[in-house]
């Protein structure tokens, strides 16, 4: 058997079930690797080593009893360690959202999505690093220090779910949760060479998620293969009475093999939007994505050129709507009920001082942008106009996915995840707008609420992973996961391992 840490989630589940390994061995292997590599990566903000080990022993007792009784556990993830981005609450474990304003905060409840994974037997091994309040594309905005890319530690892992992506890529953990408001699962997945899913808006509960942009936020999963991500997604998804924005759409089992024993891709159509292959994109990224589209074509998928004409407006729309929502969501951090408080004579001064000193620069910028966009006299010109242009962006996707007179109807849209591969730490630190431009290809899916799946399709000349994303119809994550799975059956980019 190969090294434990090299097994995919799917292989790990099988190895645990047939007794080739134990949850204790597996958890220890992860903790040892974390201990060895954390000094050079800094993927984690908190490790729950003791509780994870105790839960592993309990899982082993359950697994042994089941094997003796010759039966299978209904818990898919029994004994599997996972990591959680530090914007989701786990009762009793610190939750900082990468911010000093939540330093020391111990949430008294567990996010629904984490609870579902725990009920399926998963063990939370720790909380991963993130840009402060998930605002950023590099983890450089974390108040607790940057995470390093496992493929080149002088580069960023992407963000904001950079800790989760780096942990999965470096094989510190088989899989992890992330969140995606404007690309925060897909872009780090791409930069780190792993597979990451942003589900449809409303597909996965956000109860227990530290809110950023409420009309955009999605909880997603990162793993090494599409199959691994699909396993997590099917457990995470579905309606939650504690989150009124969750949709009731059924979560059906994802079939990776058709009746003929082949991937069921025949008749599926992919659209390639011309607006995503523009000047400024790194040549190796374009080549990698176009080659991958060719591979899918070879597997029986039809390829069509399409147009999403309002793509270039997604960036200004997003950077008005998300900060506007953030300015409201982050009003709750006031130093009164939880988190640190900086003392002052009056309550108003507590607010000013605590918020002014404990929020980092990017969070302050976005709160101010949002406050301005919503303020009297500017609302219509900024927020109002952004919401209308959002309708046009959403309409672009509807045109591509639904029958129309003008263009081919497609089942998925293939595009680069980001214009470049992972950039050096510090490259954009003095220019927020340049950093925002990193999100140009991921923002539209959030604005339209459609699912997006990023997966590795090659490497650039510097040995950095190149990613592609597939975007799909609302609630059709299965189509994206099946296509990526078929791709991963005939390619090996996803099994490459950084030299650490």
């Amino acid at each position: 058997m190969p090294d434990l840490i090299d097994l995919t989630l799917t292989q790990t589940i099988a190895a645990l079930r047939n007794g080739e390994t134990s949850s204790r061995e597996l958890t220890r292997a992860c903790l040892e690797r974390i201990e060895q590599l954390e000094p050079s990566l800094h993927a984690f903000l908190y490790l729950a080593a003791d509780s994870a080990s105790a839960q592993a022993d309990a899982a082993d007792r359950e697994l042994t009893a089941l094997r003796k009784a010759n039966s299978q556990s209904p818990k898919t993830l029994l004994g599997i360690p996972i990591a959680i981005k530090d914007v989701l609450t786990v009762e009793g474990l610190p939750c900082t959202a990468g911010s000093k304003i939540l330093e020391g905060f111990i949430p008294p409840f567990t996010a629904t999505v984490v609870k579902r994974l725990q009920e399926a037997g998963a063990i939370v091994i720790g909380k991963t690093n993130t840009d402060e309040f998930a605002m950023g594309s590099s983890t450089e905005n974390s108040a607790y220090g940057v995470t390093h890319n496992p493929w080149d530690t002088s580069r960023v892992p992407g963000g904001s779910s950079g800790g989760s992506a780096a942990a999965v890529a470096a094989r510190l953990i088989p899989a992890a949760l992330g969140t995606d408001t404007g690309g925060s699962v897909r872009q780090p997945a791409s930069f780190c060479g792993v597979t990451g899913l942003k589900p449809t808006y409303g597909r996965v509960s956000r109860y227990g998620l530290v809110a950023y942009g409420s009309s955009l936020d999605c909880v997603g999963a990162l793993g090494r293969t599409s199959e691994d991500v699909a396993t997590l997604f099917q457990i995470m998804a579905g309606r939650d009475p504690l989150d009124a924005t969750t949709a009731g759409a059924p979560v059906s089992k994802i079939e990776f093999v058709g009746a003929d024993g082949r991937p069921p891709l025949r008749g599926l159509r992919i659209g390639v939007p011309q607006e995503y292959f523009v000047r400024g994109i790194q040549a190796e990224v374009e080549v990698g994505v176009r080659k991958a589209i060719g591979v899918l074509e070879g597997l029986g998928v039809e390829v069509h050129e399409i147009s999403l004409p309002h793509t270039e407006y997604a960036l200004p729309v997003y950077y008005i709507i998300a900060p506007a929502e953030a300015s409201a969501n982050l009003a709750r951090y006031d130093g009164i009920r939880y988190g640190p408080r900086l003392d002052a004579e009056s309550m108003w001064d507590i607010y000013y001082r605590t918020r002014g000193r404990k929020f980092g620069a990017e969070v302050e910028r976005r709160i101010m942008l949002g406050t301005y966009a919503l303020s009297a006299g500017y609302y219509e010109a900024y927020y109002g106009q952004a919401q209308k242009v959002r309708t046009l962006i959403k309409h672009d996707f509807e045109q591509a996915f639904e029958p129309s007179r003008c263009c081919a109807q497609v089942d998925a849209i293939a595009a680069p995840v980001a214009p470049t591969t992972a950039f050096p730490i510090g490259a954009h630190s003095d220019d927020p707008l340049a950093m925002y431009l990193e999100d140009v290809f991921t923002l539209p899916a959030n604005l339209a609420g459609v699912p997006g799946l990023a997966f590795p399709v090659g490497f650039d000349g510097a040995g950095l992973p190149v990613g592609m994303q597939l975007m799909g119809k609302h609630f059709r994550e299965d189509v994206l996961l099946r296509m990526a799975h078929a791709y991963q059956q005939v390619t090996d980019w996803h099994v490459r391992k950084p030299d650490l």
Binding site: P316, S346, M368, Q385, V389, T391
Partner: protein, 96 residues
């Protein structure tokens, strides 16, 4: 430079953020550049376009108005910076 220093101070007050003089200058420059970029949206005629606030068409579902157990007072106060007599403690909010 679309934003004046006074506007930056006004926004910071609305957002309850205490900023240093250096932060005000830096944010003024950075936010101005970003707002300038946003002007791109004015290129589009959106006269007959409805705004999108929710991307799904399901609307807001109603739930039954029933009481259910919540977290205890002790639990909720555990993270508070200052507590007195089972309540969050704050300085006076009214002038004496």
């Amino acid at each position: 430079m679309p934003l004046s220093l006074e506007e930056v101070e006004h926004i910071a007050t609305l957002a309850r953020l205490e900023l240093s003089a250096e932060e005000k200058t830096r944010y003024r420059q950075q936010l101005s550049a970003i707002l300038d970029y946003f002007r791109k949206l004015q290129e589009l005629d959106t006269t007959d376009i409805a705004p999108t606030s929710n991307v799904l068409s399901g609307g807001s579902p109603m739930r039954a108005d029933e009481s259910r157990p919540g977290l205890s007072r002790e639990t909720l106060l555990e993270n508070a910076p200052e507590v007195a007599r089972g309540q969050f403690k704050i300085p006076p909010v009214f002038d004496a």
